[in-house]
Amino acid sequence: MTITRRNVLLGATAAAALAPIASRAQTSEVVIGVIYPLSGASAQIGVDAQKAFETAADIINKNYDFELPLAKGEGLSGLGGAKVRLVFADHQADPQKGRAEAERLITQDKVCAIVGTYQSAVAVTVSQICERYQIPFISADNSSPSLHRRGLKFYFRAAPHDEMFSTAMFDFFDTMKKKGTKIDTLSLFHEDTIFGTDSGNAQAKLAGERGYKIAADIKYRANSPSLSAEVQQLKAANADVLMPSSYTTDGILLVKTMAELGYKPNAIVAQDAGFSEKALYDAVGDKLEGVISRGSFSLDLAAKRPMVGKINAMFKERSGKDFNDYSSRQFMGLIVMADAINRAKSTDGEKIREALVATDMPGETTIMPWKRVKFDDMGQNNDADPVLLQYIGGKFVTIFPPQAAVAEAVWPMK
């Protein structure tokens, strides 16, 4: 018992010692909490996310000539040039740890806003805590549609959710069908955590509504040691389109197993995740010529908006990787949040929330192909148009929607 008491006292003293520093520092800096998995099975995502957020903070804090909110001038002009300081916390993909870290960031580090979290399950608890403390939370890269439908006032998501992504896929199928491509049957292949389940449900529902036949609906266990039985069933179903919702590990194994069992689908339209990760293309890119993935980001945009290329170069310098669907959304998550804080001219949670509600950021001033950033009354940005990208000749090109497309879809894939 001695030890808890000592720890407790140490903790309390440390917290007490830090408190005055934090409040004193408030005028010259704005502290924002960033919660990601930094150890454990999905640590790679968290480590890349750190680089994306640092890139965004760098652009905010230093003077850059980009048509991006807060890029010009140093720091937040609304708060007398205050600098953004990020505090990172590790949730290890555990909802309980996520909420504990959110609470620590709010009460000890005095963050005025939180951005996170990659895993949707953790976003559930982190956003609950933010609601309780009236601290705005931006779901940078969580795509589970249930998240914004929980009646939370402090929850915001600038990026699309899985239903929007899936709708884009079916819009694309409808367009292709009108052009005479045969798309009647679909095979769904999704993992068994929240991401895969939500995605699979959304796709099954849309298929029913739009009259596509589901030839196989296979839910598999994430991180399985083998997928041969699953791939065998996909092969037997032989649908016109294979629609996987898989993280990187399962994505690699899926593609390898498909090659080993001699299964070549006409087309793969993937729900992002693993299929936007560099690691997957490093491993099995040669087998993926022509794969289509949904995304909320495309490097093609650099041709129209030069700053996209420059910001990507800054990120690449830090991480050794190009922006992908996750890191770009993470980057934008912080920009949107910092922009709101700047307009709120305050670090008060309620004021920032009001500023977020009033957000109306034109798409051209983001690095995304979105129409704009404007939140509905549930905190969801419905103008975040997803895009479909096709992997051709070692890079992704935008093929849908038409206004963003730079190339025609290659169908069937090679």
Partner: protein, 330 residues
Amino acid sequence: MDKDFARRRRRELIIAFCLAAIAALVPLFVKDVYVQNVMVLTLMYAALSQSWNILSGYCGQISLGHALYFGLGAYTTAILFTKFGVLPWFGMLAGGVLSALIAMALGYPCFRLRGHYFVIATIVIAEIGLLLIQNWEWAGAALGIDIPVRGDSWLKFQFTRSKLPYFYFALALACVAWFVTWWLEDSKWGYWWRAVKDNPDAAESLGVVVFNSKMGAAAVSAFLVAVGGSFYAQFVSYIDPESVMGFQFSLLMALPAVLGGIGTLWGPVLGAVILIPLTELTRSFIGGSGRGVDLIVYGTLIVLISLALPRGLVSLFARPKFLWRKAAVR
């Protein structure tokens, strides 16, 4: 000798009472919610580990599948509340009883298994439970269950910001688990278990009664762990299969007892008091680096403690008199 024994047990009860009283006062001085959160978890794991210790430590039936009961408790409470409006207090009871029954049903075939066969059986049974919940649409499958929190209420046992009610509940649970263990030590069952441990041949002659007492231990252990699971569901107000039924929970329940001293009265408490703050602090203060340093520190400590002190940290306070004097000084 008997008189000594009785006196020692009385002393233990007094020490426990004093420690609980001191613990109950701590939140009056420690207002930081993060630290309070760590204390709640510490007490919860102390209670869980103490309950695990009844079956695995005293009876010697090493279970690495107690996450099953933890998850059952959490899910029963959450489902009854969100789908049928049953208050968590009743859900807690229902989850506990359900877990106790399942523990007995599983104990019947499993107690015939020895050593590693038993350990692996407990692991795979918990994994089956996890997979079934994960694929059960009605129970939320992977999406889990989000328990809506609408203001503070003792009736619904939910509190938006205050950690104190959770703290006192966890403290009470830890005390109950401790007291049950204390009581069992001196019961008929306790004697049988000791006899069987010291002399395997005695197991043969005591066959049936020992078997029945193990079933009893499994039920008590599962009941308490399930109540802990119900508590966790209320505390976090969101549960999903991986985060309440995953294998890591089974290990986390066992670790404090193992490090503190397996099959001892004080081991689980001592283990939890050291281990849980350590886990939380390493993650919070060095985990942010993204380089796995927290894992290295944590793992190294487990290796060192389990090798250096096979009887656990309580062996540092081996003589009861010493413990008594220390407590008196305090």
